[in-house]
Amino acid sequence: MTAQKKGPWSARLTIITILALMIGCSRSVPANDVTPAPTTQPFVAADIAFVLIATAMVLAMAIPGLALFYGGLVRRKNILSIMMQCVSLTGLMSVIWLLYGYSLVFAPDLPYSFGFVGGFDFVAMSGVLPTNGESGQTIPAVGTIPRMSHFMFQMMFFVITPTLICGAFAERLRFASVCWFSVLWGTFVYCPVAHWIWSDTGWFSEFNTTNPWCKAFDFAGGTVVHVTSGVSALVCAIIIGNRLGFRQEPMPPHNLTYTALGAMLLWLGWFGFNAGSALAANPLAVAAFTATHMAAASGLLGWSLMEWLSHGRVTLLGACSGAVAGLVVITPACGTCSPLSALLMGLMGGAVCYLACTRLKNAFQYDDSLDAFGIHGVGGLLGAILTGVFATRMMKGGTEPLGLVDGNPEQILYQVIAALVTALYAAFISVILLKIIDSSLGLRVSQQAELQGLDIAEHGEEGYIFH
């Protein structure tokens, strides 16, 4: 672990590279000869409206939701650095998604990759953009919405996932390293995993009609988003090491009102995340919406219950953490479980994540600063498994039994396999990326910068000037 800055040039290079790539790409795309020809345009206006709004809601989870949730938890001197990470990653990951992210996830398999990752068909939005031929404008579609709308909705997942990891290494990483890590992580972890689980040809994809290795349900990204980010967060916390003074001096949240506000916005935005994943304004979206809310409500109660039993009092931070834990747990299940099951899942999520963030973390003494693993990793894994328990055709329609309660116990196995493979893969790649970045740019800021706070040391700004 080297602590000194490697000078701004590396950073400048980054930006220049991206810029070059961007211009290059935008030139190299002949916008009028897209091949994967979508012909009919079966658009449903209501679905377009719904997915667009849902897209905005998912973005609201990252900025300002997560920015505030995390921002409130750090010490005053690092508030801007965490907000900066959230907003900059939004910019950065969006561009990456446009350049190749969407393609790596949703394009047909890369040749000879054996379903590992998507190919380059959708690079730089080719095949996503409309085309104007002789016969008028042709707009590629996914279901009842333009593919561009699918592209945008999925982009927000790509934005928020690495941002979640920032909770693990808050208050000590160089900004340039955060950017590099996120871009590489998005490329090498998120894209393949999302391809496995959500593409038409993915190994674990329920949409893979030909030959899924093991069909896992992940309606809105429990595994794709939360297991990947949560497990990587743990790896980051361990490899990067504790904050200076961790467990010696108190490091209380500097502004719990922000954290509460952030949690509330996460709750609201999650409706877009989960219900929007139906990609249509239909009863399934309503079911997902309902399950989402009930799990948040009971996650809140579950965590509070644990606090009450152990300390005899409940905290706002606990209630908010519990709600988020409930939301994480329900994410993979919300399209297949009943609201009553959601209630139970949320409750369990709140309680289990409570234990992870208190007992587990204390026992192993890693500094997962804002509990990215404790909530997203643990909640994500729990949710993946419980989805196998509670999935039922009552909500999803169809005649096949889905989960354990529906009479299909082996689904649990599939869920566990998909989640574990994903977790191991994410952990493995994260280790490699961290090592590479540490030995080139250096991961951590200098000790002095860490004491002074990243806001001033890295960005030359202060959060609050109240005098």
Partner: protein, 112 residues
């Protein structure tokens, strides 16, 4: 002249100010401080991390008065600030060499 510094409870400040005004005090400077003493702190818990907050919010009042006013002012503060519970605070009295009113340049008791 004497400088009287009093560390007191927040919710007593208004009362003290009024009592002091009545005995002729013309100026007070107040500031937010955090005090550690016999008064027990409280425990705070944030997810796993539990710790004790020992420094409790108090207000420090600084009042400069002429030597003869001092005893009156001190007893007024005690009367107004007392609740009888641990944590009522302290009063310190220091000697002041010189006092100047910036606006006019007046010095000494004139400036009080």
């Amino acid at each position: 002249m004497k400088k009287i510094e009093a560390i007191v409870r927040h919710f007593k400040v208004e009362e003290i100010k009024e009592a002091l005004t009545e005995v002729g005090v013309k100026g007070i400077t107040a500031s937010e401080v955090r005090g550690f003493g016999r008064q027990k702190g409280h425990r705070e818990t944030f997810r796993g991390a539990e710790y004790t907050v020992d420094f409790l919010p108090k207000v420090k009042l600084e009042i400069v008065v002429s030597d003869d006013q001092e005893p009156k002012v001190v007893s007024t503060i005690i009367a107004a600030a007392q609740t009888g519970q641990i944590g009522d605070g302290k009063i310190f009295v220091t000697n002041i060499d010189e006092m100047i009113r910036i606006r006019t340049g007046e010095m000494g008791d004139e400036a009080v």
